[in-house]
């Protein structure tokens, strides 16, 4: 089944044996990195109690590490880093704008609702 409307783009990603070696090396490097981050996260979560003095720092480092992991998965494993710039931004920019807005508005609203319960009883 030859489909002339897709074939030239679909062939673009082909690479040789030598290029493959370099790509595989990168994949294993990223694997090691993702594993290391997960181990650090679990260690922090198991040893530092919520509500302790170091907790706010730990919480934010969780979020940063998660975004780092997500970045590597999307850019390397999903090959978005290898796509055209325009495609990259069409995917990422609207999503981040919308999510940032949603998170902001939901947390503000949650605080207000929490205060209302506290003031008027539940």
């Amino acid at each position: 089944m030859l489909r002339d409307d897709v074939i030239e783009y679909s062939l673009d990603t082909h690479h040789s044996e030598e290029q493959g070696k370099a790509i595989r090396k990168k994949i294993w490097m990223v694997t090691a990195l993702l594993t290391a981050i997960t181990i650090i996260e679990v260690a922090l979560g198991a040893f530092i109690k919520q509500g302790s003095g170091a907790w706010p720092f730990v919480k934010w480092s969780f979020i940063i590490m998660t975004l780092l992991k997500a970045g590597y998965i999307v850019m390397v494993f999903m090959h978005l880093g290898d796509e055209k710039k325009s495609l990259k931004y069409v995917i990422l920019v609207p999503y981040f704008l919308f999510m940032a807005y949603l998170i902001f508005i939901a947390l503000m609203e949650a605080t207000a609702v929490g205060n209302a319960w506290e003031t008027y009883g539940g």
Binding site: V6, Y9, S10, T13, H15, I27, F77, M78, E83, K84
Partner: protein, 341 residues
């Protein structure tokens, strides 16, 4: 790689409407658009979770309080099990990207090998989730207790083993003086929930009254999750006092003073919504993993039959790969926001 294609296309094709603005095939582009919309769904779910949690504050359970068990090894291993699940999913994502890489070299055997590894990893993850759900639904040995002042507390510590029941008063199935040694925990919890315990005398399902031979509980601690007249959310009750208050509730003879496990209406871990979010978010993700495994199997069969080799490229593997990585990506966020933070 991608991106150079537009330079190679001649002018007649360029102006003939055959060019993709992103230099990717239609199928891959649509997979990306689908993934963005699916990511919005998961984003919405996690934000809703964040909203509810932010609103509930201290009453919300902490991941390491709820998820601290391993199969065959019991309690006291906070987060290790989910970390293992996370690792399994990351590894299966790696084997998938290796399958895609093999496809780019037209290495059919390599694609098959790595895709089978991915499918096995996927089944392991789904199986782990089944264990976790079962554990979450059945709950701990202590359950959640409602204290005399109306506050509710989760219970930490080591539950002393129930060794036997001694029948004091005969019922339908048991004679007086008989020692019961089977199915003890289940019958005991049943009696606790039904409020069939008075002054440490348990009334079993068949009407027989028994006394319980049970080892002492150790390191008991009550953590308040719902305000009462005396205790407020976040209070800790330790030692003898914790033990007394817990068994006062059990011995009160009132039904549902203690509940075990979780369903959609109540759970022993925290507010009602906690259980609902757990079932919905991990369930929705688990459904994605399951359908991902099915799709991978279908595509893998296509690879074995040589469909994509004949086509001249393994883009179908790349597209299911995108979906599979997305499933991993979602889990990274679920792991952080449901279990860690």
């Amino acid at each position: 790689m991608a991106g150079h294609a537009s330079n190679q296309i001649d002018a007649s094709t360029l102006w003939g409407g055959k060019i993709s603005p992103f230099s990717t095939s239609y199928g891959k582009l649509m997979m990306w658009f689908f993934l963005v919309s699916d990511a919005l769904t998961f984003g919405g779910l996690l934000v809703a979770y964040g909203f509810t949690r932010h609103d509930a504050q201290d009453a919300w359970p902490i991941g390491e309080e709820t998820f601290n068990s391993l199969p065959f090894l019991g309690h006291g291993y906070p987060l290790i099990y989910v970390a293992l699940m996370t690792f399994i999913l990351i590894v299966s994502s790696v084997t998938m990207v290796l399958a895609v890489e093999a496809g780019h070299r037209m290495d059919k055997k390599g694609v098959i090998k790595w895709m089978i590894a991915t499918i096995i990893g996927g089944f392991f993850f789904v199986g782990s989730q089944a264990w976790e759900w079962s554990h979450f639904i059945h709950g701990s040995e202590f359950g959640k207790v409602e204290l005399a002042d109306g506050s509710q507390a989760i219970v930490k510590g080591h539950f002393g083993e129930i060794k036997s029941f001694k029948v004091l008063e005969a019922g339908k199935h048991h004679k007086k003086g008989e020692i019961i040694t089977e199915d003890l925990m289940h019958q005991y919890q049943h009696a606790v929930v039904a409020g069939n315990i008075n002054n440490s005398i348990v009334t079993l399902h068949d009407g027989s009254k028994v006394s319980v031979d049970k080892a002492a509980d150790e390191h008991m601690e009550l953590i308040i999750k719902k305000d009462g007249k005396k205790y407020k959310v976040g209070d800790h009750i330790k030692g003898k006092d914790a033990c007394n208050q817990y068994y006062d509730a059990i011995n009160s003879g009132t039904p549902r003073k203690v509940i075990y496990g979780a369903n959609l209406e109540e759970n022993e871990y925290g507010p009602q919504q906690y259980g609902q979010f757990f079932f919905f978010i991990t369930g929705f993700h688990g459904f994605h993993v399951f359908s991902g495994v099915i799709i991978n199997i279908i595509i893998c069969l296509g690879v074995v039959r040589g469909v994509y080799h004949k086509r001249g490229h393994y883009e179908m593997v790349e597209k299911t790969g995108l979906y599979w990585h997305f499933v991993d990506l979602v889990w990274v966020f679920v792991f952080t926001f449901f279990y860690l933070v």
